[in-house]
Symmetry: C2
Subunit: 279 residues, 2 copies
């Protein structure tokens, strides 16, 4: 592998380098030869949607996804309506940015509630409302199962099998699944589900799992290779299932966020080459 | 329900009142009318195995389980041998105590390793060695799936379905599964797996899930009713599957461990009546 090679399918998710603005992200990726980025709505809004869109296009960067929509599980109807409206705006933003998919974190149990089946049903209902709107804008919805430790407060969709069962109720181009190594690595069925997912794989995100878990577990994802996940095996599995998209590095880690952005990006590139790049 | 009633199937797992010695546990349960206890090896050893056994028998208490064996996943053969020997001793201790089952926490990934499939295979191999020894002593092995957040460091068996698939390779009286609400509540398949488990259900433990997770997540299980788990629904499901054993309250919570033991036991009894007792 040449020094410059091996990162043709690397996408840098913006959350990995949260210390950077959109401008810094674009400049940094161009400089490092990273061909693609995953974007988040909040920093894009800070930059300005149209300006962010122009920046990435002018730089020749591919946008792999927009994070994120979802949070569909409110039982209150006004709150639910607000969530759906917000998701419609997110779909429209994805279209402006040229992101092929909007990543969905479905939401946890409504305040103080215990009705996990009900919350799961509300996710399906929300997808039924949103999928046609997304299709009109040429955007796919990427339902992401989160790790079961987030079931109560962030996402009642917790396995790839469960996400697939829901996605399969919709046309393949409309609803797919996001495979994130951090969220799914523990699942004894993960390779079977990836194989079954096939063209439903709407995106592939990578981070490592380090032990012990930090408090709250939201911002302690591991740098590639720092933990116990078989990253290359999972990448090979999604590739074998037919996935041809980018490998998006998305690491929420509050210590990494204290690094100078460029040093962090260089680390990501080096670790990606070691643990994920094609030989 | 009468004031004294409703706790005929309550078993107090010793870890819930870790502030108590075996002597205090026995006296406290007798005084509160709690008919059963789950024991742990370390405090039993501190009391003396024979003495602990005599104390619970003389008090007329039922022993529902002994915690715990397992930690089978070492790749080093000497360490593996030590683990198996230790499990044989645990089986013999369970027999002395009159505990029908030994609870198994299978073990995580061996140091720095990533081979989760290999670790899972080692669990199966260990069960094949231990199950006949357990059967000779009249002890069942209760394979416990832990929450997936413990997969890396404590237990590579993470779903009830996976535990059942392993248990089903052995005679039903030899290897069963421990259903612990804290570990399995998030699983979209949990009710299907409980129904399928039937006579394989070797025990039923209850604790609640509170949000947010504490650091490390080991000692922040919730008091019954403090969290989001549908405890009664899960109890009804194990009963419907044919389980007739005790409902063992096992709550690891470092704040509860600062309470006077008796006040904590009274709280357990009250919450059990509210959230788990038969009507």
């Amino acid at each position: 592998m040449s020094r410059g090679g091996g990162i043709e399918r690397l996408s840098l998710n913006q959350a990995t380098v949260r210390q950077w603005t959109v401008e810094e992200l674009v400049a940094g990726c161009v400089d490092a030869g990273v061909p693609a980025v995953g974007l988040w709505r909040e920093p894009v809004a800070q930059c300005g949607l149209d300006r962010a869109s122009k920046l990435v296009r002018d730089a020749g960067l591919i946008v792999t996804s927009l994070c994120r929509g979802g949070f569909f599980t409110a039982s209150d109807s006004a709150e639910r309506r607000r969530a759906l409206d917000d998701n419609r705006r997110a779909i429209e933003e994805a279209a402006v940015l040229g992101a092929p998919v909007l990543v969905l974190v479905s939401g946890g149990l409504p305040d103080g509630g215990r009705d996990v089946d009900g919350a799961r049903e509300r996710v399906v209902e929300a997808l039924a409302e949103l999928a046609p709107h997304a299709a009109e804008h040429g955007i796919g919805l990427a339902l992401e199962p989160l790790h079961p430790m987030f079931c109560s407060d962030r996402c009642v969709i917790v396995t790839l099998g469960q996400a697939l069962e829901i996605a399969e109720r919709f046309p393949a181009g409309q609803v797919g699944v996001m495979v994130d190594t951090y969220q799914v690595w523990w699942d004894p069925e993960v390779y079977a589900h990836i194989a079954r997912a096939g063209e439903r794989i709407a995106g592939f995100q990578v981070a490592d799992w380090v032990t012990p878990l930090p408090r709250g577990a939201l911002v302690g994802r591991g740098m590639l290779g720092a933990g116990c996940i078989e990253l290359r095996r999972l990448r090979d599995a999604v590739d074998a299932a037919g996935f041809r998209g980018m490998v998006e590095v998305e690491i929420f880690n509050d210590r990494l966020w204290t690094m100078p952005g460029r040093a962090l990006l260089d680390l990501v590139v080096a670790r990606y080459r070691e643990h994920l790049a094609e030989g």
